[in-house]
């Protein structure tokens, strides 16, 4: 197998920043091509940009991603930019309808800077302390030449750590189900050598699961060892989520006493709050650590994990047949990190905005992220869910439904969750490309050209 060039691939793509609990996202607009290039050049000269492999752990990891508009603004030849896939060239706003970014979540209602500005370059800083993140953000800003403008506000983000688990705002352990990539150090121990996913699903220039190299834009030097990044600011309405669960509990406990708010939430997500799976622990939370070694083949009716549960929809694993290959074609590498103050289950949520900075790396935005969003999250036909949408992140409008199948083993009757509203709204985002370190060098030196 082709060896992964880990000193060229940017960090956080194949290996997550688990230990960096603080993050800052800085947004820039390039007004003069030379300025954009000089900025990237300075980041490289200062050796600030972090690769997947480091000799010594940096105090702060810094990574860079560029939008299609950003490539054009830095004078990358249009003949090259337009070999990038249409979704990337058009940008996330243009794709809004298909993504379900409508109503309150439509681009016209997004937060600054996404609503009105064109984000060309995103710089992401990750560190263990707020102080270090601040320091590096300051350092990055200090390198800005004239002709490039920071778009405010910058975005703060942080991991919510509780009982050594990273949680999202609804109170569930997050980031558990990521694929293990073939050729990564330690991948064999983590999966016993099984269920590995080929690196070409996440990094360009390597074979994907079909054995073929995914279609790559031109020139190769610009895109090899690079990855597409889908960045979205997703706002979670914790108040609405909790209120909904209690409302449903009041009705559904009359069907079966077991349908308490916590049980219903677990059925909607597909895991218990501590990350243990419903497949291995169908009746009550497991007390172990989050598990990922399970499949849905032995639960075809969804008695344990509903067919419409969030994690089953996002990755049906082998439930679609062919040993899970159909699902593997849609996997993305999720690197989300929370923003906003966490509200413990005993506290009452305030009006402050909170949610997740959704980051997902992949080699094909249309085949991976957009397919997931369109076919499995906001539509249910492939998963025998008809028009029902994902109960957690679907673009529901107050009339959504989700079937929670019963369980003959325990005599639990099936119920229908009704009047689902939209719990997770979109506040901004863009389709970006995270070039390799060497490709960033080409950008900085204005050496991207197509040769015939």
């Amino acid at each position: 197998m082709k060896k992964l060039n880990l000193s060229n691939i940017q960090g956080n793509i194949l290996r997550g920043y688990r230990s960096f609990t603080r993050a800052r996202f800085l947004y820039f607009s390039v007004r003069k091509a030379e300025a954009g290039r000089a900025f990237i050049g300075r980041l490289l000269d200062e050796e600030l940009i972090t690769a997947a492999q480091w000799k010594e752990k940096p105090d702060c990891a810094v990574n860079v991603a560029v939008s299609a508009g950003g490539l054009l603004a830095m004078n990358v030849p249009a003949e090259s930019v337009y070999t990038f896939p249409p979704a990337f060239c058009e940008g996330m706003k243009v794709r809004a309808t298909g993504l379900g970014d409508t109503g309150e979540s439509s681009p016209a209602n997004w937060d600054r800077p996404w609503r009105s500005d064109h984000v060309h370059v995103v710089v992401m800083c990750y560190a263990e302390t707020e102080r270090s993140v601040n320091e590096h953000a300051r350092k990055v800003r200090g390198m800005l030449p004239d002709g490039i403008r920071e778009l405010s506000p910058a975005q703060k983000a942080h991991q919510i750590i509780k009982d050594r688990l990273a949680l999202e705002h609804f109170g569930f352990a997050d980031g558990i189900g990521n694929p293990v990539v073939e050729g990564m150090p330690s991948s064999n121990e983590r999966r016993g050598g099984a269920n590995l996913v080929a690196p070409g699903e996440f990094v360009l220039g390597y074979p994907g699961i079909g054995g073929e190299e995914p279609h790559a834009p031109q020139p190769r030097a610009l895109v090899h060892d690079g990855s597409f990044l889908v960045l979205r600011k997703l706002s979670q309405n914790v108040q609405m989520f909790r209120h909904y669960l209690h409302e449903q509990e009041a009705v559904l406990k009359r069907v079966d006493q077991r349908y308490g708010a916590g049980f219903l939430a677990a059925k909607m997500v597909g895991r218990w709050p501590n990350g243990t799976s419903l497949i291995k622990n169908p009746d009550a939370s497991g007390d172990g650590i989050p598990d990922n070694q399970f499949d849905y083949r032995l639960d075809p009716q969804g008695s344990a994990c509903p067919l419409g549960a969030h994690i089953r929809r996002s990755n049906p694993r082998a439930a679609l047949g062919l040993g899970g290959l159909l699902s593997q074609r849609r996997l993305v590498m999720r690197r989300g990190i929370a923003y906003g103050k966490f509200v413990d289950e005993h506290e009452v949520p305030d009006d402050e905005d909170r949610g997740i900075m959704f980051l997902a790396y992949m080699t094909n935005i249309e085949r991976q992220f957009e397919f997931l969003q369109r076919q499995w999250i906001n539509h249910g036909d492939d998963l025998d869910q008809g028009n029902d949408k994902d109960a957690i992140i679907g673009d529901n409008n107050g009339t959504g439904r989700m079937v929670v199948p019963g369980d003959e083993r325990t005599g639990r009757a099936p119920v229908l969750l009704t009047r689902l509203p939209r719990f997770v709204g979109v506040r901004g985002g863009e389709y970006l490309f995270a070039p390799s370190l060497s490709a960033l060098g080409l950008l900085a030196e204005n050496l991207v050209e197509l040769s015939f």
């Binding site: 298909g98 009705v251 957009e370 369109r374 028009n387 409008n397």
Partner: protein, 227 residues
């Protein structure tokens, strides 16, 4: 889709469906512009698409094809002699005549608006209108520009539009029933269910494009699904 080797499959056929595909040369540049507008205007139909009036058709696509993007490097210009209207649909029936008849009878204005901008469209609509003659002429026309195929989109090869709509009607009604009554005690539930079943049997069938309680939805990205 997957083609079965059993009966009912073969050239242009799968299950009880006929898959029709054709390329019609567009008359001239003005017609091409007008045709694009007509296709956009289809969304304004009160049920989302003029194909809603043609109950035989499951899914139809109309595409104006007027350029050839050259794939590969170096890129070079490439052009078509004429623009084409691509028309693809799958319908309940066995012959192109079934399709032509259904379009002429149910959506003749639409047929004229679209195909009237293509070369060789034979049905003028002047004088006393003879449905049979028009259907025959239109069928000949559809056959003339047909591209034979054994691979076409066909989501539900063994159910007619009517059967699918009946299934959807039942699904919607049952979901509503569950929503309203799931917390009832078994005796009440059984009584209500019997009544529900009687009401359902006597209820009116759904018509294409007229589904209650559902948002109008396209396929989202790319072309819009019709009807």
């Amino acid at each position: 889709m997957i083609l079965s080797s059993g009966s009912g499959s073969g050239r242009n056929r799968y299950g009880s469906k006929y898959g029709y595909t054709a390329l019609f040369p567009i008359r001239d540049a003005d017609c091409r512009v007008a045709l694009r507008k007509s296709l956009l205007d289809m969304d304004a139909h009160k049920y989302g698409s003029p194909f809603s009036d043609v109950p035989r058709i499951h899914l139809a696509r109309l595409i104006v094809w007027d350029g050839l993007p050259y794939q590969g490097l170096p890129s070079k210009a490439d052009r078509l002699e004429a623009g084409y209207l691509i028309f693809m649909c799958d319908f309940d029936g066995e012959t192109v005549r079934n399709l032509a008849g259904s379009l002429v009878v149910n959506a003749f204005d639409f047929v004229q608006d679209i195909w009237g901008k293509c070369s060789g469209f034979p049905v003028t609509g002047e004088g006393p209108f003879d449905t049979n003659a028009a259907a025959k002429q239109f069928a000949d026309y559809l056959r003339r520009y047909q591209v034979e195929t054994s691979l076409f989109f066909c989501d539900q090869p063994h159910a007619t539009v009517e059967e699918i709509l009946s299934g959807i009607k039942m699904q919607i009604a049952f979901a509503k029933f569950v929503e309203a009554n799931q917390a009832d005690d078994p005796v009440t539930l059984q009584q209500k269910f019997r009544q529900f079943w009687e009401d359902l049997k006597g209820s009116q069938d759904l018509l294409p494009g007229r589904l209650p309680d559902t948002e109008p939805r396209g396929t989202g990205l790319g072309e819009k699904a019709q009807p």
